[in-house]
């Protein structure tokens, strides 16, 4: 129902007075309008937001006492019903449910993916504070303001009527004034209540709100009453105190990746995830698949997740944020730094819930002050717009052929697919799905005139299922996604491709492009290392490229039997073959992270400029559009801003433990 969720200047609005004894009329008017009223009520020793039937359910005469790691209810000396600050229930619970089916796959003849029919309940949110309105606005930007639109959120948000309440008290944990979100409610409401001794000063912020107010037993407020309303809000601002030095903290934090404070705070953090669950803006999710016992229907469900979860950044080969300090840094930096890169605002509204509900009393305000001194700004990279529509949406492609590359790696040739996929470029990837298996990101190893190749190493359930498919099978695909190799950066220069193991897969299409445009480069070299000779990918292509003399191909293996007459040693030993002016090299590097690190160090030591070294990063990717949070690496989302980055773009983020 909300018409303008973006806070703006206060409009001069007509005001009414509603006696406290008549507040129930508001609740009943909302119910009579067909709405379920969600409002504050006391449960389990806290003021939570839940369905209420009447004003009798409200916390009359109750206040809350909040401090770091402490929340208690106490009696007020009056009978105010909104004489508390915010409880543990964020409103996102009703606009962004903790568990939501997002797709269903049916097997009947073939199979298809269906997205659920969206039905949003008609709700009225009663008691929404300024910081919480700002949080709803942030979620609007997350779910409605990016290339991806969450239609379920849109429906729920549109169906919710906002009855806001001005804060007339605050807690020691409140810092909305620092974040610029409060304490005054200025916009984004349908009805606004300011509680004073005798009742409420009421304003309408939308036609829907005005229609409800018209049915209430109101009168014109006196000057004393409107003055009391203004004074009470201003008193709260004074009570909160001086704002924190937040301006520029997003850039300052980016230079504090190694601050020892991360380790100190992590020693206290128990990783309970309370801060993310209570946060009104956190939106990281994970997707799970649930199949029926017949194996004919599989449901994809999205759940709230937390970046504090130990598995949140895990991939088959390990965990990119293995230490608690890494996960705490990820959370805090997303809120106060990389959210700004992502959405143009901070991800914190200053409600203080993460402070109150932290069982070990970690106060984010204190951590920010300690961690973030002044630093230089960093430029943002330019991201490629993804073709994808939504995480649950896949188009169907047909498997044309299967080619075994090595014992555990297989190339699938897909065809009969959306032409958009053919417009992709080397370095990009697709999300691949089968019913009942979680979607996985796979690099495009080759573009055909009528399809693409995906070269897949069987390491998990989905990849194993994929490599066991037979020609004619159908798979769900979404993409092409992510950034691509900047081949233009090598025009007129020495193009050097460095691949390790299955890292040759995302480089295969690049090598083909380099060969096809050979005249545009001074030289082209491919250095490829694998574990054993048997683990080499694309052996036919390697032989063809070598025989063609258009490019220099050098391969090495980590170990071999006596029958192998080629090179043995790590891929960096191949760099001894470079006889050109290394400052004129443009390098493209993919492989295991440690191999890339060694390669990059070696290239830099030889004089290759960092801005001319391009790498493709592997991270845990689920949504493919920079939303779910799994692949976040500092200020970047690898699925959207990457996977291809130049070394100068990554800067301090490159091969840094725990990012």
């Amino acid at each position: 129902m909300i018409t303008n969720p973006v806070p703006g200047p206060t409009a001069v609005a007509r005001q009414w007075f509603l006696a406290r004894s008549d507040l129930d009329a508001l609740i009943q008017a909302l119910r009579k309008a067909g709405r379920t009223v969600i409002g504050p009520t006391v449960r389990d020793g806290a003021i939570v937001n839940d369905e209420i039937q009447s004003a009798a359910d409200l916390p009359a005469g109750i206040r809350d006492e909040q401090a770091a790691g402490r929340y208690r209810l106490a009696e007020r000396s009056d009978d105010r019903v909104f004489g508390y600050t915010v409880g543990p229930t964020p409103w996102k619970r009703f606009t962004f449910p903790p568990n939501l089916p997002i797709a269903t796959a049916h097997l009947s003849g073939g199979f298809g993916f269906e997205q659920p029919h969206i039905t949003a309940p008609q709700l009225a949110f009663l008691g929404v504070r300024a910081c919480e309105i700002a949080a709803l606005g942030m979620q609007d930007r997350v779910f409605l303001g990016s290339p991806f639109t969450d239609e379920d959120f849109r429906a729920r948000r549109k169906a919710a009527l906002i009855v806001a309440v001005q804060c007339t008290t605050c807690s020691s944990t409140c810092f909305c004034s620092s974040m610029g979100t409060g304490p005054e409610v200025r916009n984004g409401y349908d009805i606004l209540l300011t509680e004073i001794d005798e009742g409420f000063v009421v304003q309408a912020g939308s036609p829907a709100g005005a229609a409800i107010v018209a049915h209430l037993p109101t009168r014109r407020p006196t000057h004393a009453e409107t003055g009391a309303a203004v004074d009470s809000v201003e008193a709260v601002r004074t009570q909160i105190g001086e704002p924190l030095p937040i301006a520029g903290i997003d850039r300052r934090l980016q230079h504090q990746l190694d601050n020892p404070r991360w380790g100190i705070v992590a020693e206290r953090c128990v990783e309970c995830g309370n801060c993310t669950m209570a946060c009104p803006t956190c939106f990281c999710t994970s997707v799970t698949e649930r199949s029926d016992m017949e194996g004919r229907t599989a449901t994809t469900e999205r759940q709230w997740d937390s970046c504090f979860d130990v598995n949140f950044a895990k991939v088959a080969g390990g965990d990119f944020r293995a230490r608690p300090r890494d996960r705490y840094r990820q959370w805090l930096m997303h809120k106060f730094s990389t959210w700004m890169d992502q959405f143009g605002s901070f991800g914190c509204v200053g409600c203080g819930r993460c402070i109150t509900w932290c069982p070990v009393r970690i106060d984010v305000r204190e951590e920010l002050q300690v961690i973030a001194p002044v630093i230089q700004p960093v430029e943002r990279p330019v991201a490629v717009e993804p073709v994808a529509a939504s995480p649950g949406d896949f188009s169907i492609a047909r498997l044309a052929s299967v080619r075994q590359e090595t014992e555990d790696t297989t190339t699938l040739s897909l065809t009969d697919m959306d032409p958009a996929f053919l417009a992709g470029r080397p370095g990009q990837f697709v999300m691949v799905a089968l019913p009942a298996f979680p979607a996985v990101p796979i690099s495009i190893s080759r573009f055909h005139s009528n399809g693409i190749d995906l070269t897949i190493r069987a390491v998990g359930a989905t990849s194993t299922a994929l490599v066991n498919l037979h020609p004619g099978a159908k798979v769900g695909v979404r993409g092409p996604l992510g950034t691509f190799w900047p081949i233009e950066d090598a025009f007129g220069r020495h193009a050097v491709v460095v691949a390790g193991g299955v890292g040759l897969s995302p480089l295969h299409g690049l090598v083909e492009a380099l060969v096809a445009n050979r005249d545009r480069f001074e030289s082209v070299s491919l250095y490829y290392g694998s574990r054993t000779p048997e683990d080499q990918l694309f052996r036919d292509d390697l032989a063809t490229w070598s025989a063609g003399k258009a490019i220099d191909v050098a391969v090495t293996v980590d170990r071999a039997g006596p029958e192998w007459k080629g090179r043995v040693g790590v891929v960096t030993t191949l760099f001894d073959m470079m006889s050109c002016d290394c400052s004129r090299i443009t390098a493209f590097v993919v492989g295991p992270e440690r191999m890339m690190q060694a390669s990059v160090q070696s290239l830099i030591s030889k004089g290759v400029p960092p801005e001319r070294i391009h790498v493709s990063m592997e991270r845990h990717m689920e949504c493919g559009i920079g939303l779910c949070g799994h692949c976040q690496t500092g200020r970047y989302f690898v699925c959207k801003d990457g996977p291809v980055f130049s070394l100068s773009e990554l800067g301090d983020l490159y091969v840094r433990e725990g990012i």
Binding site: G500, G529, D558, R559, G561, G569, T572, T573, D576, M595
Partner: protein, 159 residues
């Protein structure tokens, strides 16, 4: 193996200059090595040094390829590193009573400047300028090999 004593030291120095190892040595060191050693040719599959035997000579590979192999019980010989042109082999010959840590086999027809260990050690002992020039480069070669071995130990491409 075909060993050829070369009186044309300039030709040997030219060969050294085409290797990363030799090119960074002082001219005096290059000349000294050329006089200390001799050029040897190795045929494919020729064993140059057996694992466990005394390392009697150090070589600088000029062309071809050598394999360093270690015998692993139940797996047989495993190639752990290939020596490419410019790299050295038998570097432990600079140490007294050193045993070869791997078998050195030519996997291609190869050519190397080979320097007898006893003569090399004696020269290094008496000529401090030679030692000051040669030791850092030997250390550089060993360090490169150590770095590469560490990466191999990580088994980066393991499943």
């Amino acid at each position: 193996m075909h060993a050829r004593a070369m009186d044309d030291y300039a030709a040997v120095i030219a060969m050294l200059n085409h290797t990363w190892f030799g090119a960074e040595l002082a001219p005096e060191t290059q000349e000294r090595l050329a006089k200390l050693g001799n050029i040897q040719d190795f045929e494919v599959d020729e064993v140059i040094l057996h694992e466990g035997n005394d390392t009697r000579a150090m070589g600088v590979l000029v062309s071809g390829r050598l394999a360093l192999r270690t015998l692993v019980p139940e797996r047989g010989p495993v190639t752990i590193l290939s020596v490419e042109p410019g790299d050295i082999f038998g570097w432990s010959a600079v140490l007294t009573d050193a045993q070869a840590q791997s078998t050195v086999v030519a996997t291609e027809a190869s050519r190397a400047l080979v320097i007898d260990g006893v003569r090399l050690r004696a020269a290094l002992k008496e000529d401090h300028a030679l030692a000051a020039s040669l030791y850092p480069q030997i250390l550089n070669a060993v360090a490169r090999r150590l770095r590469a071995t560490r990466l191999q130990l990580l088994d980066l491409f393991a499943r």
